[in-house]
Subunit: 464 residues, 2 copies
């Protein structure tokens, strides 16, 4: 132990090896519920790729696992520490190294905050679209490690579609470069994509080459209110079948509408069972596209449809959607007088045609287990977050919520869906991953893990 | 050998085990030049996944390699037979299993021709964008195995962006399912992407789930003619830097213009040093977008810019571009009175900012080695095909062309590019792949190959 710390201190600059107990406790876990976490031996904050490689080599020599951590905003426990581990924080790997406007590329270190990249590339008339809910606090390294999603993904795709190349420190301490700076390229296996979404289990990402887009166009925004969640689900299927490509298509159920109005009154109708928030950024056609979406919502049973009258109202509606998570946290906290109320956040995705069935089934599951479940999500992708209200101090409540959680994932798989649409597997869904991909899929995962990290140095216990 | 054939015949239906020598010769190679090929022991045409699995198990039991083959339109030798191998043809795995318009998905077997998928999904108002030059003859399995590109990629991306999931027969004979039918999903490692572009070296793809797009909109088309290739390259960089997203941005040099006019006179100006063909499908904004592209071309030095007056003229221009390959083949054949003239087709990609330097450098390389090189390609992606005219009967010509070929790839890497933009590595560029990805990259490739195919059953000698 002393040896380990000595070796780390001699390899890293002053202040980069942290053992203060309060600080160690602060690095034990991400924001996931229901996930175990341990006490790390040390937190390191390397500033360069070479320092990361040195840490990995020292860890390997001492047989001590390495847990990479960004901002710990994850929701599946993938960044949770294990006892005695080296937590490798990317906090000091926080530079934007390059923005190349001609080639629409940015090269960044993993510790840069998502919104900082968006702001920097906007200066060059460019856009980095992926916008997870945590975009103002999460790091690009964490986004890449979990293949983060967000609200823009319905039209602009998830993180992986923007990662052109990576620099990764392997378990050997060697530095691997994957991918390219060109728009196209098919040289060899797609190692870039193998590392994206691998949740820190295959290597430590130390540099990311991002492909960018031209700046977004102004969008128009509308709202549709429904008398049932199933009607909202049917509207989403009709919009998809109608060949429309909204730039935003978000779902909020009544529980979330109430939670948001309680958290910050914004004039949302809390008597509606569901709300769809849609936007179109197709320029001169946006109004016509929104009109078609509005008509499809009405055909599906919406009892009120209205457009945002201006950009201020549109921004307020988007802000209401962004408040769903903190509002629901407050709602959960206030649901139990004990003060132990909280939220178990689920993340599932189904084919869009199955969205109504998922929403219907989730209501039934809530009733069956006697728990409150609010649902919010990226309707256009079929990606829903059923948020389960739990009394953490009450084992019976936790048990009921866990059963509801499992039933929702089980329902999702039976609908042809996936156990995680954007949050990842981490610790939270290892069993569900195994069920989803089956024994052959598990064996292939294990074979790849063994090929790249035979001694399970990186993030042990996660994903697999 | 008799044992092998007996085992295959008992596992496959009548007519699926082929040993006719002419037929074996017809399955020796794809369309790549400079690549070795052998004589297979047998060609099999399984009709089901179970039959593919049976073939793989028999091959493993006999220690005989399996070379998967689609339509053999590849340009890197990835489908070339090795002596004594089982060539596994996907010709009888040729069904479109499902088109789901609500979820914008098609499920297909690997032997379906690209254009047949495009035609079928069009009936549902949907589009499968990737359009390699071979789209009317190449199979989707081959497109997936090589991660094929095409002309639409500048705006709509390459094959991999449309592959949601795969069914793959592994070296064990087990059947792996990867990916999903949902718009989003992050469950586990991205095995789908690992198999896409792996050129038949990791498994046999037996089913493909494709994500589709709404039908394309009508586009407007324009032409710009330049007094130098470098000016055309500069125009491409300016278009990219200007935030424009043309739906087509193709380059033809003077050699190709002459070849096309010789092959089929279409009224192209053969005195121009380079032509850019651009299109925009942004609906009501397309004319304005094309006007901006035209202005940027003029600023870069174009001496003539004109728009197609109608869809017929636009289609003729596109047809001229599609004729570049056969026209250049004819040009090459007629370049030598021996009748042994042919084409060595290269495929490189550079950052768009380096396109002018690549074009300039290629001209210098041609002069230096005394060979004729025509360049055509997907300018908007920086993906060029320098086509080298060779006299196959003349060893000195072959040697000069090989040196020019290598010099072009070397130049590409020095410009921050990749040794293959869309054709793949196959046999043609194994050494160049190794140089591009370096020893760490090669070791990771080998580790993954060994994890999935430890006995090198699949497509030995390709890629690595």
């Amino acid at each position: 132990m002393a040896d380990l710390l000595d070796d780390l201190r001699s390899a890293l600059p002053d202040g980069a090896v942290l053992t203060d107990p309060d600080l160690l406790r602060g690095h034990q876990r991400d924001e996931a519920d229901l996930c175990a976490y341990g006490m790390p031996a040390v937190v390191v904050r390397p500033r360069t790729t070479e320092q990361v490689a040195a840490v990995v080599k020292i860890a390997a020599a001492h047989g001590v696992p390495v847990v990479p951590q960004g901002a710990r905003t994850g929701l599946a426990g993938a960044a949770n520490a294990v006892d005695g581990a080296i937590v490798l924080s990317t906090a000091a790997l926080n530079r934007i190294l390059e923005v190349d406007a001609v080639n629409r590329i940015a090269v960044v270190q993993p510790g840069v905050i998502n919104s900082a990249i968006a702001a920097e590339v906007a200066k060059h008339g460019l856009r980095y679209p992926p916008d997870p809910g945590s975009w103002e606090s999460s790091t690009i390294g964490g986004n890449v490690a979990t293949n983060a999603g967000g609200m823009c993904c319905v039209k602009y795709g998830v993180t992986s579609e923007y990662v052109l190349g990576l620099e990764v420190v392997l378990a050997t301490g060697e530095v691997l470069r994957t991918g390219r700076r060109t728009a196209k390229g098919v040289a060899g296996y797609d190692l870039t994509r193998l590392f994206v979404g691998s949740e820190g289990t295959l290597g430590v990402i130390t540099e990311i080459t991002l492909g960018l887009r031209p700046a977004a166009e102004a969008s128009l925004t509308m709202v549709a209110l429904f008398p049932s969640t199933a009607a909202a689900g049917a509207a989403v299927a009709a919009i998809s079948a109608g060949g429309l490509s909204p730039s935003l298509l978000e779902f909020l159920d009544q529980t979330h509408l109430i939670a948001i109005e309680t958290h910050r009154p914004m004039g949302l109708r809390t008597d509606a069972k569901a709300l769809l928030l849609a936007a179109s950024d197709t320029g001169p056609r946006a109004a016509a596209d929104l009109a078609r979406i509005a008509a499809l919502c009405e055909e599906a049973g919406a009892d009120e449809v209205y457009a945002a009258t201006d950009a201020v109202e549109a921004a307020a509606l988007l802000q209401a959607r962004r408040l769903a998570h903190p509002a629901m946290e407050q709602y959960a906290a206030e649901s139990f007088p004990t003060g132990n109320g909280g939220l178990i956040i689920d993340d599932v995705a189904v084919p869009r045609s199955a969205l109504a069935a998922l929403l219907d089934g989730t209501e039934k599951i809530a009733a069956e287990h006697g728990v409150a479940i609010g649902v919010v999500g990226h309707a256009g992708d079929g990606n829903m977050h059923p948020n389960i209200v739990v009394d953490r101090a009450d084992p019976a409540s936790v048990a009921s919520c866990r059963r509801a959680f499992d039933d929702i994932v089980s329902l999702t798989l039976s609908l042809g869906g996936t156990c995680t649409g954007e949050h990842g597997v981490g610790l939270l869904k290892r069993e569900w991953l195994a069920r989803e991909i089956g024994p052959v899929g598990v064996r292939v995962h294990q074979a790849i893990k063994a090929a790249l990290d035979p001694d399970t140095l990186f993030n042990p216990g996660k994903v697999l």
